[in-house]
Symmetry: C2
Subunit: 260 residues, 2 copies
């Protein structure tokens, strides 16, 4: 489990990340392409390095799994999972809907998560067994009585394989057809706050979803893979990073059925 002290440390990591990101927003920075052709800026790297330095000093026995640098203490039961800028494309384009993701996983299960939007100074924090907060105030998902009332979000059609795009389109066609595109982690914060009903994505890595699970579930929602199984550290590999978030857990069967 995650302790109050773990949450304090996670908040300190988010503060450090925000201090680096804010002055670089809409600023000058270089970028390059990773092996999968996705862009990474020098800001992503600087932010992860700053967070790692704090963890190495404050939690030297814990492991670190970061998006930009290699693993540390791979065998540790407690692993900090870091995505310095989730939504690098939004960051690069000057849109304040990216986020720093910080998670603690215990024996492969996410037990603590933070989504931090440093420009708008918005922070969602979740810890297993505790209410999720948005800027330190509790937030809740909204109810959704029928799939046909649901607003659905996804980061972009380019992240789906043809097969996964088909499943998404089948699902979207049975919702309200109010489809929100773009947004990455930010959409999951909005879902936790009761502003969206479904987020459906594929190809996510552990660092993309680990922080989201305690936030969505601590707000009363549900996260699962596309078979309805809970998400753990292996879901990215075992299930192709296919991730569902629901504000209304009772809609899970409808969603799975709609996806075929």
């Amino acid at each position: 489990m995650a302790s109050a002290r773990d949450l304090i440390l996670a908040n300190r990591l988010a503060d450090a990340a925000g201090s680096i990101i804010r002055p670089m927003f809409r600023g000058d920075w270089s970028h390059e392409r990773k092996a999968d052709a996705s862009p990474v800026t020098e800001v992503d790297k600087a932010v992860e390095a700053a967070m790692r330095a704090i963890l190495e000093s404050e939690a030297p026995d814990d492991g670190i799994i970061g998006e930009e640098y290699g693993p540390r203490n791979e065998g540790a039961s407690r692993q900090w999972v870091l995505d310095p800028i989730d939504g690098t494309i939004s960051f690069m384009a000057g849109r304040p809907i990216f986020g720093t993701l910080i998670s603690l996983i215990q024996d492969g299960w996410p037990v603590l998560g933070i989504i931090d939007q440093p420009v708008a100074r918005e922070r969602w924090a979740g810890r297993i067994g505790q209410d999720t907060t948005f800027n330190d105030k509790p937030v809740r998902v909204r109810s959704c009585k029928s799939l046909s009332d649901a607003t659905i979000a996804s980061s972009g059609p380019q992240y789906f394989s043809d097969e996964d795009a088909g499943a998404f389109m089948s699902l979207a066609a049975q919702t309200s057809k109010i489809v929100v595109w773009g947004g990455d982690c930010y959409n999951y914060g909005l879902l936790a706050g009761g502003h969206l009903d479904i987020v459906c994505e594929s190809g996510l890595k552990l660092h993309d979803y680990a922080a989201l699970v305690p936030i969505v579930e601590g707000a009363g929602g549900l996260m699962a893979d596309w078979q309805g199984n809970p998400l753990d550290a292996d879901s990215a590999k075992a299930q192709g990073g296919r991730v569902l978030a629901l504000g209304e857990p009772a809609r899970l069967e409808d969603v799975l059925e709609a996806m075929g």
Copy 2:
């Protein structure tokens, strides 16, 4: 042409809009569907009504073309074009990347435009013959030496017909493949500020694009339909609302060629 007095009036409209929108952001409001199935909230309607009341008092001889209510003074050579919330879906989902659009068109040509993001308190303003400003400071597009360097944005795949989607995909495939989804008018402000290179959309109405033209062009960019023609009040009907914005006007031929 638009006078300094017109710009003061347009800013007053944007102030009035923001005062109504801000307290309703992530709040409680009802929504309904329009004839084209797109959602409209009571906030959209209240904002347009407030702007119209100011115009009817301060510019009684000018016409008004609004998204939500019928035309006023249809024969007038000066027409105020209003979109109270462009990006209603983002507004409904609690994303601060929608905007109030205010434009003045003279004999069918856009001569003044404002994009106002009231939550983040961001305002782009353009007037023919003047530098575009962002929160009262001049902004410029960035240069783009090759299509393969370009970042491209569009509000969502669902707004394209199959034919238009094909043209967009052909274009996107020749860019950097950094594709920004979602964002509506906000993307054009980002382009004017040098954070994006191309926005490509179709199905836009006059109230969606009229305000964007003076902003993009006053920052050094170019707006056109998909044949490369300048945009006027008839472009929505004549060209299916197919709109291009380029930060680097010299890339127009490359873009048109890539779209086939």
